[in-house]
């Protein structure tokens, strides 16, 4: 809380008590290439959309701040490259992440299969308290739909994921999905101190589980 107070000095009340608390979260985007991860982030962070978004190399890092009722949530967003050859880098980025958005393309059944694999990998190797959201992107192309909404919703319910169909092009549900994640994330006092504090807490709980799956 001390750090949060320093960061948010402007929002302090005259008596010194902070009006809102600031929580910082690491969020990672995963999914097959060309499903629209970067477009989703760009829409969320800058409100822009590029018809020909270039393919991400390695990973991209962006930040965005959301204001909830009583807290300010700062997202540190790691937008990973979807191409297969960069797959091995992904664990580095989702390690210690408090939230993940797994993106698939509703016009492509294969990307949904890959998204399921990503969810599985996250459940197995990321921190157990990670909030995972499933995003069916390109909902503006509903005419070419290959993945049914019900099918994805059922899968999400089964695995306890947040689920929305989004469109970076029309901005549909883009802010909503990030907002939903922000609402679901635990905003305890330790999380407010920044990524390090949050990460430690999460990693303490993480240790026994992650070792048990790598025997």
């Amino acid at each position: 809380m001390d750090m949060a107070t320093n960061r948010n000095a402007a929002a302090q009340r005259p008596n010194g008590a902070p009006q809102t608390k600031v929580c910082q979260f690491k969020l990672v985007l995963l999914g097959e290439s060309a499903v629209g991860k970067s477009s989703l982030v760009l829409r969320f962070v800058k409100g822009q959309f590029h018809e020909y978004q270039e393919s991400t190399i390695g990973a991209a890092f962006l930040t965005q701040t959301l204001c909830l009722d009583d807290t300010t949530v700062k997202f540190e967003i790691w937008d990973t490259a979807g191409q297969e050859r960069y797959h091995s880098l992904a664990p580095m980025y989702y390690r210690g992440a408090q939230a993940a958005i797994v993106v698939y393309d509703i016009t492509n059944q294969d990307t949904f299969g890959r998204a399921k694999n990503w969810v599985k990998e996250l459940q197995r190797q990321a921190s157990p308290s990670i909030v995972i959201a499933l995003a069916g992107n390109k909902s503006d192309l509903a005419a070419k739909r290959m993945v049914e909404f019900e099918e994805a919703q059922a899968y999400a319910d089964e695995n306890g994921l947040l689920f929305m169909e989004t469109s970076a092009k029309t901005a549909m549900n883009v802010n909503d999905i990030f907002l939903a994640i922000a609402n679901k994330l635990p905003k305890s006092e330790s999380a407010g101190g920044g990524a390090a504090g949050g990460a430690r807490r999460l990693n303490d709980a993480d240790a026994p589980r992650s070792s048990s799956c790598c025997k």
């Binding site: 390695g58 990973a59 890092f61 965005q64 960069y86 802010n175 240790a207």
Partner: protein
């Protein structure tokens, strides 16, 4: 509700901890493992026995392939992605096959184009101007297809009729309608068969009279050959830029020599040039140097594949130009200050004055001596009006010339004129002296 963030988007092989861009996946992995592994471990658990065990297992994974394989089997429901870089498997070069296919294709095109060009040459060389003779000549060179059985235009499939007449391509002899035919300007045709012929680039409507009726196919082939010819003869950007640069250098050479001369004259205290002249010259050389530098930079920045000889040439040109500018154009002698010039000039003037003084005394003595000899000397004091002295007039004209030459920075002329003027002055002074005496 979402506050916009002005920070730039980072992208690349970013380290998730320190956000440094490591340029490649393997470097990032090794950086992360060597620098942040421990940090991660500490964060994971302060006393993490499992963590150590895991590290051992992971290390073992890297070295023992069998272990990796077993692990992959355990993951059977899920695709397994190896964490190490994969080696390239068996590969086969298909370049030769590709070349064979391509050369056969090129061969076919080349022979066809050559055939057309030979025909074009015959057609163009001795083309009679009379329409009937011309038609006969064309049919002699290229046998025209018999059109009696052709009912439709082979290109657009429209029926031939009284209004849509049958025509022949003058190069392949095939039948086509007017709408499907293209006309090749006879002048252009001449330059194609004989590139050394003078190019005529007048824009005018090409019709049956001054052009050859061709089918689209032949036209494309001939046009392609023309483009190849033009490309071969065209100067590249590099050459044009280089020639421009050499031109500037050629201009700079005499300019520098002139500058040196002017500078020397200033130091010698001559009044041929003044400081502003020399400064203007210096400015001109500076401009030339700037132009050369700019062009050489352009040359060096021309896009080129790395490790090619062209890249080396461009780099050398740039270096040579930089060297030239530094050695020849920027190492100019420093100009004397106004005060220095004043000093030199005054010394010179004083010396001259002394000289004149001595001369006068001598003349005075002579005159005294002469007047003593002749008690009364008849002075032949000619009526000399300064205004209509031709020498003075001449001097004024020359002064005007100098002014003009100076304005246009023609300093060689200035030097010659100044010399002229000086001679005139001397002459005038002598004349005056002789009048006085």
């Amino acid at each position: 509700m979402a506050a916009a963030n002005d920070e730039e988007i980072l992208e690349g092989f970013l380290c998730p901890i320190c956000k440094a861009d490591l340029k490649s996946a393997s470097q990032l992995t090794s950086h992360f493992e060597s620098l942040h592994q421990e940090e991660q471990d500490v964060l994971k658990s302060l006393k993490d026995i499992f963590g150590k065990a895991k590290k051992v297992i992971l290390n073992a994974d890297d070295t023992q392939l069998k272990e990796t394989f077993d692990r992959a089997l355990k993951f059977n429901s899920q695709e397994y992605y190896p964490y190490e870089e994969q080696t390239v498997g068996v590969s086969r070069s298909t370049t030769d096959y590709f070349k064979a296919v391509r050369s056969a294709r090129l061969e076919r095109f080349a022979t066809e184009t050559n055939k057309l060009l030979i025909r074009l040459d015959k057609l163009v060389c001795s083309m009679p101007s009379d329409p009937n003779l011309r038609k006969q000549h064309e049919q002699e060179v290229v046998p025209w297809l018999d059109g009696t059985s052709v009912k439709l235009c082979p290109n657009c499939a429209k029926t031939f009729s009284l209004t849509r007449r049958k025509h022949h391509c003058r190069l392949c002899g095939s039948i086509l309608c007017h709408d499907c035919s293209v006309f090749l300007d006879l002048n252009v045709a001449r330059t194609i068969v004989d590139p050394s012929a003078p190019q005529t680039s007048q824009e005018h409507e090409v019709n049956e009279k001054n052009g050859l009726r061709l089918c689209e196919h032949c036209y494309k082939l001939v046009e392609l050959r023309k483009q190849v010819q033009e490309n071969r003869n065209a100067k590249t950007v590099l050459v044009t830029a280089y020639e421009q640069m050499r031109g500037l250098m050629d201009q700079a050479q005499p300019a520098v020599a002139m500058y040196e001369k002017m500078c020397q004259s200033l130091f010698d205290g001559e009044t041929t040039y003044n400081l502003s002249d020399v400064n203007a010259m210096r400015g001109r050389i500076g401009k030339l140097a700037e132009g050369i530098g700019l062009l050489s930079k352009q040359i060096a920045a021309l896009p080129v594949e790395p490790n090619m000889r062209q890249a080396k040439v461009q780099e050398h040109i740039r270096q040579a130009a930089a060297h030239y500018i530094k050695e020849e154009l920027l190492s100019l002698r420093k100009l004397p200050t106004e005060a220095q010039i004043e000093e030199v000039r005054r010394e010179r003037y004083e010396r001259a004055q002394k000289q004149i003084q001595l001369e006068r005394q001598r003349v005075e003595l002579e005159r005294e001596w002469r007047s003593e000899a002749e008690s009364s000397g008849s002075r032949s004091n000619g009526a000399t009006h300064d205004d209509d002295n031709p020498l003075l007039e001449q001097m004024n004209i020359i002064r005007q010339y100098i002014k003009d030459a100076r304005k246009e920075l023609r300093f060689e002329e200035v030097a010659i004129l100044e010399k002229n003027l000086k001679e005139l002055k001397k002459e005038y002074q002598l004349q005056m002296l002789s009048y006085k005496s």
